[in-house]
Amino acid sequence: MDRIRIIEVKESIFADNNREADRIRAELKRQKTFLLNLMSSPGSGKTTLLMRTIEALKDELRIGVMEADIDSSVDAEKIAATGVRSIQLHTGGMCHLDAGMTEQGLKELGTEDLDLVVLENVGNLVCPAEFDTGAVKNAMILSVPEGHDKPLKYPLIFTVCDVLLINKIDVLPYFDFDLDKVREYAHMRNPKLKIFPVSAKTGEGMGAWTDWLRQQVGEWNHSES
């Protein structure tokens, strides 16, 4: 019987994923490609907002999209109809994407000739927040019908995001949604969170969001550090 020895590991089980995510970011920097991870619950308007965003930016930036869903190619088809290169990732039941899956998607999409890639994550406010996908920035959408208490109920996703888009502001008159309260609660979780109230349907507020995104892409793709 061989002697048993203790080997210290002392690392988080997410360490492998985090290392892989850092590698993805380094490679994207080299390629001058900006990856945005877009998260939200199902039905908040991710795909519609993404289509509007593509409309606004496609003449200046070369864009690619990775759609992640448990099943179907509904979203990838909608994006493809805008003329932008897109692929559909099927998670096969997994409720989120991690760095490994994102890397596979990026290889399949082909990113050398792209300025901006958007990863539309699986519709879920819990799990995607826990896994670094290798994205440069994380954005999330909270839509008016979902309620302004969500930052209190789902703290992690609000903490890991750089941007919060409050979508469907065109229906504010029909819901008890308090914009001031949602800002207060969201900033309690994350004081640095940038908040953009928008309507992907009417286009209201989209200018401020696309300006921010354009600036972020420019900074990432053209700075040395």
Binding site: M1, D2, R3, I4, R5, I6, I7, E8, V9, K10, E11, S12, I13, F14, A15, D16, N17, M94, C95, C127, M188
Partner: protein, 114 residues
């Protein structure tokens, strides 16, 4: 939570360490689990038993859990307190300017193997 996903991550890490150290059999894996990590221990144990049977290196490995209590720090009065008992509001000064300093770890501490 992703108990099965976590088990897969642990197995992947142990297999890597196993290769680096030329291990053939793992007898136990010690996981430090934070009190508010969200992991359900019973589910983790079930997933572990199921998943390790499919490996050569870990098929008889025991999963040992070392719990880490959750502690929150209050920025307003510079004290720490028990997270689960008191939540986000400091029980000493009532401030909301608090954050978790320990308790959401899922750390692979060590492996006993030969």
């Amino acid at each position: 939570m992703h108990e099965l996903g976590i088990v897969f991550h642990i197995i992947k890490t142990v297999e890597r360490v196993g290769e680096e150290n030329q291990l053939t059999t793992v007898s136990s894996v010690t996981l430090q689990l934070g009190e508010v990590s969200g992991v359900v221990q019973a589910e983790l144990a079930d997933c572990w038993k199921w998943a390790v049977k499919k490996t050569e290196l870990l098929k008889n490995a025991e999963l040992l859990i070392e719990p880490i209590p959750a502690v929150t720090f209050c920025e307003s009065c510079n004290t720490t307190y028990e997270t689960v008992r008191h939540g986000r509001i400091c029980p000493y000064c009532g401030s909301e300017r608090t954050y978790l300093v320990q308790g959401n770890e899922i750390n692979l501490k060590e492996i006993a193997a030969c």
